[in-house]
Symmetry: C2
Subunit: 193 residues, 2 copies
């Protein structure tokens, strides 16, 4: 008996890898990559809207219940930017995004930030939203080779290393993405406590 | 965010260990042992009835949605005995049960048997049943130290070693218990394919 499949509406291989590291022992993690589909345009104004757009897009094209995912880095000193624009913050790639963030945060004393992940499940009838938040602060220099995106600049609360300095197991044990996924699983089992 | 809890209505530490090996990465596996509760009387006439008795028992005492489990070894040459009486076949323990089975099967050419697991989920409203079957044959001598119960006498179809000669990972990848658990998870995600 195979692990039951769950379709995640993302075409980002980094996200697929992390979701698979977290849920892989119990579920078969499928993504838009398995269907040769590109990601949809992310035209929402919140993480939740973008996650819903992705879930609907995936469900409508595959007929399979899907989980949309959107993640952003929210920096207090920048009035919570880049937020939903995290991936397109600089117009370049991950490295340029980090360079822009470091530049805007130079000399800034308030380093507080949050990684937030929204998941939306859609099966043609039900639409359910789940959130995961990881509080922390923006480092003053990049550190570490792991993870992706802003991970080399993000030090989770209660830790001294950046997410990129942690092993995948360490990151996946505390991450915003893990929290949102566990919230989704909790809904699946309809825990009543 | 912790793994969401699922309560399994068993007080058998061997079963708890195996369920935890299979579902542990994604769920917190609780059992009657965590509530200091003994197992209920297994007065059903089928695996499914016994699993339902256990699920209702656990739900009524804890108020938490519960999964009852019952497993049996069904041997064709013995008119599918010991079946639901597998654990109390000899009136003794695992070793005496295996000795009785070997004795009854001496000289028997038809070695076909099945391990069957029934799971029943109950949350006060819904009652859902899941089955997992592992076909195989009864060995002529005990082999291996792993697993529990009749594992040292059971060679799964397509294999040459007994379940007790396999690593926990190997057993858990093919077992009746795994098949039933995956069927339960499949229901949880309501896969429509």
């Amino acid at each position: 008996m195979k692990r039951p499949p769950i379709l995640f509406a993302t075409a980002n291989p980094h996200k697929v890898r992390e979701i698979r590291e977290i849920l892989g022992p119990c579920f078969t993690v499928l993504s838009l990559l398995d269907y040769g589909l590109p990601g949809p345009e992310e035209s929402g104004t919140t993480l939740e809207e973008n996650a819903e757009i992705k879930a609907r897009y995936a469900y409508e094209r595959t007929g399979i219940p899907a989980v949309g995912e959107d993640t952003g880095l929210f920096v207090r000193a920048l009035k919570w930017a880049p937020g939903i624009y995290s991936a397109r913050f600089s117009g370049g790639g991950d490295r340029e995004n980090r360079e822009k963030l470091l530049y805007l945060m130079r000399g800034e004393g308030d380093r507080y930030a949050e990684f937030r992940t929204a998941l939306v499940f859609y099966d043609g009838r039900r639409l359910e939203t789940f959130l995961g938040v990881l509080p922390g602060r923006i480092a003053t220099v990049e550190r570490g080779k792991g993870g992706f995106g802003y991970d080399p600049l993000f030090v989770p609360e209660g830790h001294t290393r950046t997410l990129a300095e942690m092993s995948p197991q360490e990151k996946n044990a505390i991450s915003h993405r893990r929290k949102a996924l566990m919230s989704f699983l909790k809904w699946l089992v309809r825990e009543i406590r």
